[in-house]
Each structure stands twice: as structure tokens, then as C-alpha cells.
């Protein structure tokens, strides 16, 4: 009688039983259990019987009945690991070159990752050292600009004092205004950035002093220096009590006593100072302006509140200022609302806030850095996998012996992982050294940030550990799994099929090739782009122009007289603004009631000629004509934006003054090439406002004239520092950044080529080693070198072609996107960059394959045939 199926005992307890009961007892106990179950069915319900069965099964778990699952602990794990390290060191040393390249690749990749870390950590730490960062706020306002609300970090001058007076919730207010002033100490004369501020500055922001007291800022006659400035003027000595002279605009020179020197600023900062003097001095120098006129803006107004929730009340109460402000100023500067930005998040949001005090040098050139880091790490890992697979062909016997002595698969796995993690550790140390000695010094000038690897930062150690484990395991797991699989017996009888068919290694190599293709293309295109950017026209004659900053009209006239006598000077101009040095913005109103924000340069009639700007339509200014005071010359972009078909004679309004377009110049760059050309106009400057003198000299006489200019300056104004230069150098930082980035990408690309070729080398030699016998037989049967080459190369051809088929479009798109992100005027990309990269890659790969072919051709076929 067969039991119906649904009266069978539950399945899983039986499976459990089979798993843990000693094999010799299994049949008996299984039978007993079954019999018991059937017995129980007679008295109990099916469900109860099943429950009983399970319960009995669980109670069978007794040590006497269970299998011996003993966890064997090595009596001396230290010796075991010592042996692992010794063996791994020996196997690394067996092929020192590939080990070196391998470790170097990992080190470079890890180094770049560290750099990325330093970069991100730095960015997150900017201005985070202030104790009151959560209670100190920057006052900002929103204004309507061409239809969108723009947040501004500056504030109307009187606002600070009124806030303090009107709101009891505000604990401190601090106004900040900067001027570049001439400072004199002894015979040292320099133009310095001087910060006018309220005494609360040092209370609200955390800048501890090295010498002196912060209270001294309350005294209008004292000055507080930064560490850097103290060293510049006074060396290592304590300067407290020394007198410095600062030329305060209209008020003439005033003597200040040094009453404090700040301790060195934390590296990650955006807000700092060189010289701090009391805000009252601004009134002395600039006739009340910034203090009472709603029309002028001060650089920043910081407030500190006890309770952040008070800000809402304050914000609502500020509407009356809006009315005050908007009554006073021109309509186009009307404020739509005020807002507060906490110091803690100010820097993070500073990209959205215009003209705030927490700005940073541009970092467009570094957007690709994290991507490069990840790519390199992936490349290095894949490479390691391929190399590890190859090198183990030589270690098969070792694995066999280990297995025979009693290592199980887990042991072998652990051995290889430990080995790999120690190699990674080595690479990590190397990468750290590389970062400190090479990468960081490279990147500090590129990024304009004092990047550092902070060893006290616990996150950094966590990051290092994560990198170590991730890289070690990611690169080592597959080889370890692969290798530990083999049977000892098969290894010794030589029947292990090694390297014949392993689609995964090919996949890895394929990914490696794609990554290298991207990196090499990046490097090539970057080099092309650097040339392109260097060759790019500035829109004017930057090579023959020199400029110098002048203090006032009198100085301008004196210098003008002298320079006009110089035979090398072809043209000379005075101006209030200057291309690449100083520019202001204005809002223009068209009769059709449209608004445009434009950049404006106030210049004289010779400026266009001197700078070599090209008029494409209309005429230049005329100095003599009184009418020309109300005329402008615009650039083509503005004409295009205003959609004017016939711009000459067109009129518009700036503030309340009417202007007429009399000329159009071709577009030119007022900013570095990271930034797009903006709509720009020139108008005539008042002679008393001149701040720059520029000269165009005969080609080839730049240096000579520059020296003459300096000599003249020193003779005329011994008390003022010379501030001038070659026009070509105004974007010096931009071009040096380009050069450094090029250097960096080139290094990365070399590394990528090296790694990719090494990976392929490994794979090919693995393949050849596995087919020695086959090749020998082929040779015996009369195969020529060509036939052998074809046999070897054929299988990689598909791989290389398909990798390139993916790599080329991907690299093209990636690099294209990146260039467009970085530069306002990227090089128009063609396929030449990709082609060069592909060509390079293919050459290297062919070279690698041919080395192996040569090896096969030269090998002794008798030996080859003997291979088991």
C-alpha cells in the first residue's frame, strides 16, 4: 500500500536531517522517523503528525548523531601568514617589471583618488572653522535681472546700522568694505587689499590673533594684519606698536598703529583679510558715501542673532528698507526682497549669490578629476586581475601542493586575498607618497586652493581603509576564486585547462581597452585644445599692449607726456576700466522697454585703437566733440542680442542718461576663455576718473618699452608701487592652468597605455603558454611564421575591434561634453583626437602581440612538444 502523497512528512526537516546526521546513521534514522510519522498518523491529525515530525527532527540534533563539523584552527596562524607573505613577495619578484608597473598603476589610481578626496574635503571645510557659523548670517538681497531673480551678496551702505538700531534680536552687525590702497612702511611701498570693517568682525568670525588684542579694532587709528602680511613687512619680529602709512583716497595719508596680528588662517577658507581697519575710516576717505547713501553698496553686511528663528521676524521687518532703498535708487536696481544666508552654507551656495565675500577661484578645469580617478582605479583593478591570472599559471604547482597538505578552497582564497591586499597596501603607501610629492604640488596652482591631506582627519583614514579593502578585494576576488577552483590531482596530472577559454578575462581586457581609449583621447584632445586656446584670438591685439595702473589724473598726464616721447609707443590711451583688469556693469533700457545687463568700459577716444579692437561698423569716439559724451561703442554680441539690423544711431538709456550707438566693434574677450563673451559697451570716461594708462608699442619692443615705463614710473612716483604689466599676462593663471592640466592628462594617458598594454601582454602570454604544444605541432607540420601570427592575432582582433568600436564613440562624447563644460569656447572637436588615440593604442597593442609571436617563433619546438 503506497501512501498518498499528501500524507508525506514535511520535506525540509528531512533535508536538514540529511545535511547534519552522520551518513552511517542516516538510513536507520530516516526510516525510524518515517515509521513514527506513519504511526502518529493513526492517532493524530495530519497537521499534528507533521508538527511532531519536525519537532522530533529538531530534537535529533545531538552531538553524537551529528556529523563532525569541527572548525580547525591553525595552531600557529602567524607562521601561515608569514609563509603567505614570503611566497607572494617571491612571486612578485619573479617578474619585477610587471609587478612594478602593476603596483605603480594602482598607486597612481589611488593617488588620484586621494587627490579627489583632498579636494572634496577642502571644499566642504571652507569657512567651517568659525565658531558662530550657525548664528552669523550674510545679508543678501534679490533683484530682478532680465526676468530672473538674482541674489546679491552686497548690501546697501546704510542697512547695517539701521538693522542694528531697529532690531533688538540682532546681537552684532558687521559691515565689510574693501579697497586697494597704497601702504607704506619704511621704504616699502605696495598696493594692498585693505578691509574696512566694524570692531565686531573679530567677534563674529573666528580669527584668533597671534599678537595683540582684537578689541584694538575699535580704535580708528589701529590696524590688524594677517600673518602673511606681518611676515611680508616685518619678517618674524613682533610688529605690535609699529606705524604704517595708508593712503586713504581723498583724506590723504594716515598713520596707523599695528595693534594685532592674526594667527595663520586655516587653509580651507574663502573669507580672510590682509589688513583690517575700522569702518569709520571709510567716512574720512570717501565723504560719507558708503554710510548714508542707499545708492552705494558695501561688500558685505554680516549679522549675528541669538536665535535663528528671529530671522523671519527681522526679514518681515525689513520691508521698510526696501521702500527706502527703492525710492532712492534708479528703478533698475530695485530690490525685491532681503534674505539671510548662514555662514555655514554661504560658501556652498556662493555660486548662486553674486558678489558675495566667500567666492573661490574657478574650478572648471577640475570637473573631470573624480571621473579620472574612478577610471584609473577601474583600469588598474582590471589590469591587476589579468596579470594575477597570468602569474598564477606559474603558481599552479604551489596551489596543488597547498591543497595536498590540507588547504581547502577557503584557505587558498584567503591566501590570495591577503596577498592582494598587502600588494594594495604597498600601492597605497606609494600612492600617498606620490600624492604628497607630485599630485598636490601640481594641483595647488591649478585649483588655486591650498589642498592638503589632513592626517588628523579621521574620515581620511576611513577613506584609506575603504580604498584598501575595496581595491584589494575588487581586484583580487576573481583571480582568487578562479585559482582556488582547481583540483590538486588535475594540477599534478597536468590536465588543467588553463587560459584556453575564459571569456571573463577577455571582457576585462575589453573594458580596460575602452577606458584607456577614453583616457588617451582625453589627453590628446586636451593637448589639441590647449594649443587651440592659446592660439585663440582675444579679439584685440594683446601682444603689443602694455598697461599700468595710475592713481589719478595728474599722474596720468605726467606719465602720458613722458611715454609719448618714447619712439616705440605707437598709441596711448587712458581709461577708467581696462580689459582683463577692471570692468563694471550697467543696465540698459531700450525705447521698446527691454532691459539688458551689459559690461561697460569707460575709456578715452584712443582706447579702441590702442587695444587693437576692430571696428566693424560706425566710427570711433571723438575727444573734442561734447556730443560724444552721450555716445557708446558696442560689441557685436550686444547688437545681436538687441536684434538691431542697423545699430548705428540707435538710442537707449543707462540710468537716466540717453546714449546713442556710434560704432560697433568685433567681439573680444574681457574674461578668460572659461567664460563666454558678454554684451559689452564702451563709453567716454571723465579724465579725472582715469585709472589705467595703456600703450601699444612697436612689435618686438615690448620688453624695452616695459622697462622704460618702469623707469619713468620710478622717477615720477617714487612713493607709489608700480602696478602694470604685459596685456598678454592678464590671464596668466588661465594659461598656466591649461599647461598643468595638459601635463596631468598626459601622465594619466601614459599610465593608461602602459596598463592596457600590460593587460594585453598578460593575456596573450597566458594564451600562448597554454597552447605551446599546439604551436609546436603546427610548426612541425610546416606552419610558417605568418600562419602562426594569424592564429594568435585573430582571436584578439575581434576583441580589440569591438573594444574600439565602443571606446571611440564613448570617448568622443565624454570628452566633447567635458570640453563644453569647461570652456565657453571649446575647440571644435573633430575625430583627429580620437584617431590619434586609436592609432596609438593599436600600435602599442600590435607591438605587444608581436613580442609574443616572436617568442613563439623562436621557441624550441622539441621542448614545446614535451610539455604535458
Amino acid at each position: 500500500m503506497k501512501q498518498p502523497n499528501h500524507y508525506a512528512p514535511p520535506k525540509w526537516p528531512l533535508r536538514l536531517l540529511r545535511l547534519f546526521v552522520k551518513e552511517e546513521y542516516l538510513e536507520e534514522i530516516e526510516g525510524d522517523m518515517e515509521e513514527l510519522f506513519q504511526d502518529n498518523l493513526e492517532t493524530l491529525s495530519y497537521r499534528q503528525a507533521r508538527r511532531m515530525y519536525t519537532w522530533e527532527m529538531i530534537r535529533l540534533m545531538r552531538p553524537l548523531i551529528m556529523k563532525n563539523i569541527r572548525i580547525t584552527l591553525s595552531p600557529n596562524p602567524y607562521d601561515m601568514f608569514k609563509n603567505y607573505f614570503k611566497i607572494s613577495f617571491r612571486s612578485l619578484m619573479r617578474n619585477p617589471l610587471s609587478a612594478f608597473i602593476n603596483i605603480m598603476g594602482l598607486a597612481v589610481a589611488i593617488g588620484i583618488c586621494m587627490l579627489v578626496y583632498a579636494f572634496i574635503a577642502y571644499d566642504n571645510n571652507i569657512d567651517q572653522f568659525h565658531t558662530h557659523k550657525h548664528s552669523v548670517y550674510l545679508t543678501t538681497f534679490f533683484a530682478d535681472r532680465e526676468g530672473t531673480l538674482q541674489q546679491y551678496g552686497q548690501t546697501p551702505g546704510p542697512l547695517g546700522q539701521m538693522l542694528k538700531k531697529d532690531f533688538a534680536q540682532i546681537k552684532h552687525v558687521c559691515r565689510i568694505e574693501d579697497r586697494n590702497l597704497v601702504l607704506k612702511y619704511g621704504d616699502q611701498v605696495f598696493t594692498e587689499r585693505v578691509r574696512y570693517t566694524d570692531p565686531t568682525f573679530l567677534e563674529m568670525l573666528t580669527f584668533p590673533l597671534k599678537w595683540g588684542t582684537s578689541q584694538s579694532l575699535a580704535d580708528v587709528n589701529s590696524v590688524i594684519l594677517s600673518e602673511e602680511m606681518s611676515v611680508k613687512y616685518f619678517g618674524a619680529t613682533n610688529p605690535i606698536g609699529e606705524n604704517v602709512h595708508i593712503k586713504l583716497g581723498n583724506a590723504g595719508t594716515k598713520t596707523f598703529k599695528v595693534m594685532g596680528v592674526a594667527a595663520p588662517f586655516p587653509k580651507a577658507h574663502a573669507i580672510d583679510f590682509d589688513f583690517l581697519i575700522n569702518f569709520e575710516n571709510l567716512r574720512l576717505s570717501e565723504s560719507d558715501g558708503a554710510l548714508h547713501d542707499w545708492n552705494t553698496l558695501v561688500n558685505a553686511t554680516l549679522v549675528q542673532v541669538e536665535d535663528p528663528s528671529d530671522l523671519k521676524i527681522i526679514q518681515q521687518g525689513m520691508d521698510k528698507y526696501k521702500v527706502l532703498q527703492n525710492k532712492e535708487v534708479q528703478k533698475d536696481w530695485a530690490i525685491s526682497s532681503f534674505a539671510f544666508e548662514p555662514l555655514a552654507t554661504l560658501h556652498k551656495n556662493s555660486a548662486q549669490i553674486r558678489d558675495d565675500i566667500s567666492v573661490d577661484p574657478p574650478i572648471e578645469s577640475l570637473v573631470a578629476l573624480p571621473v579620472i580617478g574612478i577610471f584609473m582605479l577601474a583600469l588598474a583593478c582590471f589590469n591587476y586581475i589579468n596579470i594575477a591570472l597570468v602569474s598564477t599559471t606559474k603558481r599552479l604547482k604551489e596551489i596543488g601542493v597547498r591543497k595536498v597538505i590540507g588547504a581547502n578552497r577557503v584557505r587558498i582564497l584567503i591566501q590570495f586575498l591577503v596577498e592582494n591586499i598587502s600588494v594594495t597596501f604597498f600601492a597605497l603607501v606609494l600612492g600617498f607618497i606620490l600624492t604628497i610629492t607630485v599630485f598636490l604640488p601640481w594641483f595647488i596652482p591649478v585649483s588655486g586652493r591650498e589642498l592638503e591631506l589632513n592626517l588628523i582627519d579621521s574620515n581620511f583614514w576611513v577613506f584609506l581603509l575603504a580604498i584598501l579593502l575595496f581595491t584589494g578585494i575588487a581586484s583580487g576576488l576573481y583571480p582568487a576564486l578562479y585559482i582556488s577552483r582547481f583540483d590538486a590531482v588535475k594540477i599534478f596530472t597536468g590536465s588543467v585547462q588553463f587560459g584556453k577559454k575564459n571569456p571573463l578575462t577577455k571582457l576585462f581586457l575589453g573594458i580596460q581597452l575602452v577606458l584607456s581609449c577614453i583616457l588617451i583621447t582625453g589627453a590628446v584632445v586636451y593637448m589639441q585644445n590647449t594649443t587651440f586656446q592659446t592660439m585663440r584670438s582675444w579679439g584685440y591685439n594683446q601682444r603689443d599692449v602694455l598697461y599700468v595702473n595710475i592713481p589719478n589724473q595728474a599722474a596720468y598726464e605726467q606719465l602720458q607726456d613722458k611715454m609719448l616721447q618714447n619712439a616705440n609707443v605707437r598709441s596711448l590711451a587712458g581709461s577708467k576700466d581696462h580689459l582683463g583688469k577692471k570692468i563694471s556693469t550697467a543696465i540698459i533700457h531700450t525705447p521698446a522697454n527691454r532691459q539688458y545687463e551689459v559690461e561697460q568700459l569707460a575709456v578715452d577716444a584712443h582706447y579702441v585703437n590702442t587695444m587693437g579692437l576692430q571696428l566693424s561698423d560706425g566710427r570711433n569716439f571723438n575727444d573734442q566733440s561734447e556730443n560724444d559724451k552721450h555716445t557708446v561703442i558696442v560689441n557685436e554680441l550686444l547688437v545681436k542680442n538687441m536684434e538691431l539690423s542697423n545699430p548705428i544711431g540707435h538710442q537707449f538709456r543707462i540710468d537716466s542718461t540717453k546714449y546713442q550707438i556710434i560704432g560697433v566693434v568685433k567681439d573680444f574677450h574681457t574674461h578668460s576663455f572659461y567664460n563666454p563673451i558678454r554684451p559689452t559697451l564702451f563709453k567716454l570716461a571723465d579724465k579725472k576718473d582715469y585709472q589705467f594708462l595703456s600703450v601699444q608699442v612697436k612689435n618686438g619692443s615690448q620688453e624695452e618699452t616695459y622697462q622704460a615705463l618702469q623707469t619713468q614710473w620710478a622717477a615720477l612716483f617714487p612713493d607709489s608701487p608700480f602696478q602694470g604689466g604685459y596685456q598678454e599676462d592678464v590671464w596668466g593663471i588661465f594659461f598656466s592652468q591649461l599647461a598643468r592640466m595638459e601635463e596631468f592628462t598626459r601622465t594619466i594617458a601614459c599610465m593608461a597605455v602602459l596598463l592596457a598594454s600590460l593587460g594585453l601582454y598578460g593575456l596573450v602570454s597566458l594564451n600562448v603558454a597554454g597552447r605551446v604544444r599546439e604551436f609546436s605541432i603546427r610548426k612541425v607540420l610546416g606552419a610558417r611564421l605568418l600562419d602562426l601570427s594569424v592564429t594568435i592575432a585573430r582571436q584578439y582582433l575581434v576583441l580589440i575591434i569591438s573594444a574600439l568600436a565602443i571606446g571611440v564613440p564613448v570617448s568622443y562624447m565624454l570628452i566633447h561634453t567635458q570640453l563644453n563644460m569647461m570652456f565657453a569656447y571649446p575647440m571644435p572637436m573633430d575625430f583627429s583626437g580620437v584617431s590619434i588615440a586609436v592609432l596609438l593604442l593599436v600600435c602599442v597593442l600590435l607591438g605587444v602581440i608581436s613580442i609574443q609571436i616572436r617568442k613563439v617563433a623562436k621557441s624550441n619546438l622539441v621542448k614545446g612538444l614535451k610539455v604535458e
Partner: protein, 108 residues
């Protein structure tokens, strides 16, 4: 008495095996003991007692027939060794001797 290391439960199982003769296999031993002791026993406790005594040399075992009811699995028939008989007899004698020297005790 030498150290026979025979526990109380083990002694009971051993006696049952001796009593059941050819029928002495796991489930039958359990059934027999359960009726005599009037309590439920687990397979595990019986089995571990059997295995332990086999290890100690009180029992031997061999496979018996397979039945449909057992899902085609063979029984393991246990048999007592002479050593077991000797120990059991010894135990009984010790007990009997002790009983004799106990003065009349009312066994109510």
C-alpha cells in the same frame, strides 16, 4: 564494581533491547519504553543512548529488513553483548543485595 558508566536511562534502554530480542530497533524500543514508563520519549534521546552504548560495547547492531511503512529504509536491529549481560546481572545483584539489607520498609 568497575566503572561501567551505565546511566539509569541507558540501563532501561539496554534492558528493553535485551527483552525485545529480534524486534529491537529504534521505533520499537521507543514504543516499548513509552508504554512501560508511561511517558513520551523523543527519537533523539533513544538514538543517542543507543549510539553511546554501542560505542561503549554494550550493543552491536546490524541492518534488518526494509518495510513499506519505513519508506523502503532498512531497520537497524540492536543486540546486547555478553559484556552487557554481565554488567546488567552485576547491577541486578548489587540492587538485590541492597534490598536484602534494608529492614522491613513499608512500601505504601
Amino acid at each position: 564494581m568497575k566503572k561501567t558508566k551505565l546511566g539509569e536511562f541507558e540501563e532501561l534502554v539496554l534492558l528493553t533491547v535485551a527483552a525485545l530480542q529480534e524486534d529491537a530497533y529504534g521505533v520499537e524500543i521507543k514504543r516499548e519504553l513509552e508504554t512501560r514508563l508511561k511517558e513520551k520519549l523523543s527519537v533523539g534521546s533513544i538514538q543517542s543512548a543507543l549510539k553511546r552504548m554501542e560505542e561503549k560495547g554494550f550493543l552491536t547492531s546490524e541492518f534488518g529488513e526494509a518495510t513499506q511503512k519505513r519508506g523502503g529504509k532498512r531497520k537497524r536491529i540492536y543486540a546486547t553483548t555478553s559484556y552487557a549481560h554481565q554488567v546488567l546481572a552485576e547491577m541486578r545483584d548489587i540492587r538485590a543485595g541492597l534490598w536484602e539489607v534494608i529492614p522491613n520498609v513499608s512500601l505504601t
